[in-house]
């Protein structure tokens, strides 16, 4: 579904992204992990044609994303609040996104009714503009608008970062559901290793712009990642805990 070749982005002499080759197949659920500055968001932005690559290209369904717009028909993404029109109410925003995909208001209302649990009564009919919502609730709006588009490819950048634990669990089950039951290809970045190994079948580890590990998730993946990120050394509390086990 997605093919990246020699993708490179340099900012002021520093290589931010340098991915030789990456293929993501239809129906895969891919997680992206890496420390701050590893280049995750920059890579996402290049995949969404928001930043011009210095070299290489990203193609989606065999077509270069830069210069074409077909990918917009089946790709839904939420990277940050910059994706939301913040002076609209959530309802107005959903209707707008729905109308871009030729969905009637009744259809949008129906769809949103199905997300009642996920929203936890914080989004709809609250009489607030999106800009007046908390970051976590804005994230819910972003994710919901992605789901509304019924995408074949879903890209989320750190969706777990600002939402409460209950919503994190609900989001995880939604992501698993659309991937397993509806064949949606998902690409998710996160700093939470537990969540990412739980949701994704394949985990990519980025460091200084390069993908240094590409692992199929198994029972040892979480350990492997924790090893890399050095949980033991940085948080002695955790290490003690593990020794007890």
């Amino acid at each position: 579904m997605i093919e990246i070749k020699n993708l490179k982005k340099v900012y002021g002499g520093a290589v931010v992204v340098n991915v030789q080759e990456l293929n993501i197949n239809k129906g895969e659920s891919v997680g992206l992990v890496g420390n701050n500055g590893a280049g995750k968001t920059t890579m996402f932005r290049m995949m969404l044609d928001l930043i011009r690559p210095d070299a290489g290209h990203v193609s989606s369904n065999g077509e270069n994303v830069a210069g074409h717009e077909n990918w917009k028909n089946y790709t839904a993404s939420y990277l940050d609040e910059g994706f939301l029109i913040d002076y609209l109410t959530p309802e107005e925003y959903f209707y707008f996104i729905g109308s871009l995909h030729q969905q009637s208001r009744a259809h949008v209302d129906d769809f949103m009714a199905g997300l009642t649990d996920f929203f936890n009564g914080e989004i709809l009919k609250k009489g607030k503009y999106i800009r007046d919502l908390s970051k976590g609730n804005q994230c819910k709006v972003g994710v919901a608008s992605c789901l509304l588009q019924g995408p074949e490819l879903l890209m989320l950048d750190e969706p777990f970062a600002n939402i409460d634990p209950s919503t994190q669990f609900r989001l995880k089950s939604i992501l698993k559901d659309i991937n397993k039951n509806r064949g949606v290809t998902t690409l998710i970045s996160s700093h939470d290793l537990n969540h990412i190994t739980d949701v994704c079948d394949r985990v990519l580890l980025m460091e200084k712009g390069k993908i240094i590990k590409d692992i199929a998730t198994s029972s040892s993946t979480l350990n492997e990642l924790e090893q890399y990120f050095g949980v033991g050394q940085i948080a002695p509390g955790n290490a003690a805990e593990r020794e007890q086990r």
Binding site: L48, E69, F83, D86, E91, L100, G127, R131
Partner: protein, 491 residues
């Protein structure tokens, strides 16, 4: 502390994405200021001669009479032109920086405005040349102190009103209307005379220099009022969120549904305009400009057709100029979202055209009563309306493709002061001048009607060939979109 703030602001200026454009604006600004300073100095140093010629022996009465009159017009032009000093205070609020020093900085830097130089250049030479030799040094000092006091008073009054107006655009309208009414009740209705009132004060000042304390106190009081206002409002953000928010209804513009996706986009943008203070001010400003007709057309000296061309363009096109020149910064905070969404850029541009057309048409309809000043006034208005929606719209959007500066609409408007000021007008100069490049020469050759016809024709051609321009702009945008999006991401 003040020097630190200054250094930070300089850095903000030089490191901004738009430095090139800002420098160009500053240079044009600087040249204009020098030009006006030169004119004002010539008038100031020759004032005694001019007044002698005009009023003879009564020169003192006339001089004293015009001072307050000057300050009234000064206030009016300050309201429209003076820039508010900007400093993004938020990053300093939680630091061990005294609130008072923040506020003092904001209040003090406001004094560095050319507007504060003009009255001195205009009135002080006369004080030295005429008043000092005749009435003595003390009277001269009293005059200078009064002028300084009134200047400071005007400075802070204008800033206070502008700050208030940024929160509520209607305040600007009311203030401007009050000033116009004061002017009209003197010159048109003769209810009272500002000149007599001014003479009453300044005439007595010669004999009782102590009176100078009145304007000085006024100035100090106005400064203090500003100081308090600013200090109070350092909390505004917090106050704003604590306030019980009114239930925000979802709105719908059924008329726009006929335009499909483009209508949706226009609907969104209308919501943007009416739900954000700053864009709302740009709109209300347009309503205010509609009074220009009253100012110009009632004045026999300024009701020539050349003026009508100017005023008509302004009245029907002010929104295009005022709102359009900040495009697409209005949408900076969700620009990434627009780029990845299914919005086709040609549709995006068509929506802009439709928006401008709708609002210009509204302003045209609202100004039709000016037909009272002759049917040709209306004809000129319609011609300039065509020009605005045919030509100016395209120019504005051409520059919008080159605007990379992020604008944060969601931030409280109290500290978002980049709105209405002289810098903004400079950017609109090309828009204001172009029609005169066509009309002016023809009018000089006594072919004014040909000029008007030509303007109308070009405007109409612009409207009819919109499709062509939209494609050109879309292609241009396509090359610039990465830069625009990057600039908008740059907080």
């Amino acid at each position: 502390m003040t020097s630190t703030f200054l250094r930070h602001e300089l850095k903000a200026f030089w490191r901004s994405k738009n430095t090139g454009k800002s420098i160009a604006v500053r240079i044009v600004m600087g040249l204009l200021i020098l030009y006006f300073l030169a004119i004002v100095s010539v008038i100031g140093f020759g004032l005694d001669k001019f007044l002698e010629k005009a009023a003879g022996k009564d020169m003192m009465i006339t001089y004293c009479g015009i001072i307050l009159l000057y300050y009234l017009t000064d206030l009016f032009s300050r309201l429209q032109l003076q820039d508010l000093p900007t400093l993004r205070v938020q990053p300093y609020l939680q630091l061990p920086v005294k609130r008072n020093s923040l506020v003092r900085y904001l209040a003090f830097t406001a004094l560095f405005s050319v507007f504060n130089l003009w009255p001195f250049l205009l009135f002080v030479p006369f004080v030295f040349k005429v008043i000092a030799p005749v009435s003595g040094g003390l009277a001269a000092i009293a005059f200078i102190a009064s002028i300084a006091g009134l200047t400071v008073f005007n400075n802070y009054l204008a800033l206070y009103l502008k700050r208030k107006a940024n929160l509520n655009g209607w305040i600007f309208l009311v203030a401007a209307a009050v000033i116009i009414l004061i002017g009209l009740s003197d010159f048109l209705w003769h209810i009272f005379s500002i000149r007599n009132f001014s003479y009453l004060f300044f005439g007595n000042l010669i004999h009782y220099p102590v009176l100078a304390i009145v304007p000085v106190i006024l100035g100090a009081a106005m400064y203090y009022l500003n100081f308090l206002y600013l200090k109070d409002n350092l909390y505004l953000e917090e106050l704003g969120s604590r306030k019980v928010a009114r239930y925000k209804n979802s709105t719908d513009y059924p008329l726009l549904n006929h335009f499909g996706n483009i209508g949706d986009l226009v609907g969104n943008e209308l919501k943007l305009i009416f739900r954000n203070k700053r864009s709302r001010s740009a709109f209300i400003m347009g309503l205010f400009i509609m009074f220009y007709g009253l100012i110009f057309y009632t004045n026999p000296k300024m009701s020539g057709e050349g003026y009508k061309v100017f005023v008509s363009m302004f009245m029907t096109g002010i929104f295009i100029i005022n709102y359009g020149q900040f495009m697409y910064s209005w949408q900076a905070s969700h620009f990434d979202g627009l780029l990845v969404s299914k919005v086709n850029f040609v549709d995006f541009l068509k929506a802009k055209y439709l928006l401008f057309t709708i609002i210009s048409t509204l302003f045209l309809l609202l100004t039709t009563p000016y037909v009272y000043f002759g049917w040709k006034t209306l004809v000129i208005e319609i011609i300039m309306y065509m020009w605005n929606i045919g030509v100016n719209t395209t120019i504005v959007l051409f520059f919008a493709n080159r605007n990379y500066k992020r604008m944060d609409l969601s931030r409280g408007a109290a500290f978002n002061w980049e709105g209405i000021g002289s810098n903004q007008w400079i950017l609109s100069l090309p828009l204001l001048i172009t029609p005169f490049l066509i009309y002016g020469p023809l009018a000089l050759l006594h072919q004014a009607n040909t000029g008007l016809a030509l303007l109308g024709l070009i405007g109409l051609t612009g409207v009819l060939t919109r499709g062509f321009w939209i494609n050109k702009l879309a292609a241009d945008f396509y090359n610039k979109r990465y830069t625009i999006a990057e600039g908008f991401r740059n907080k």
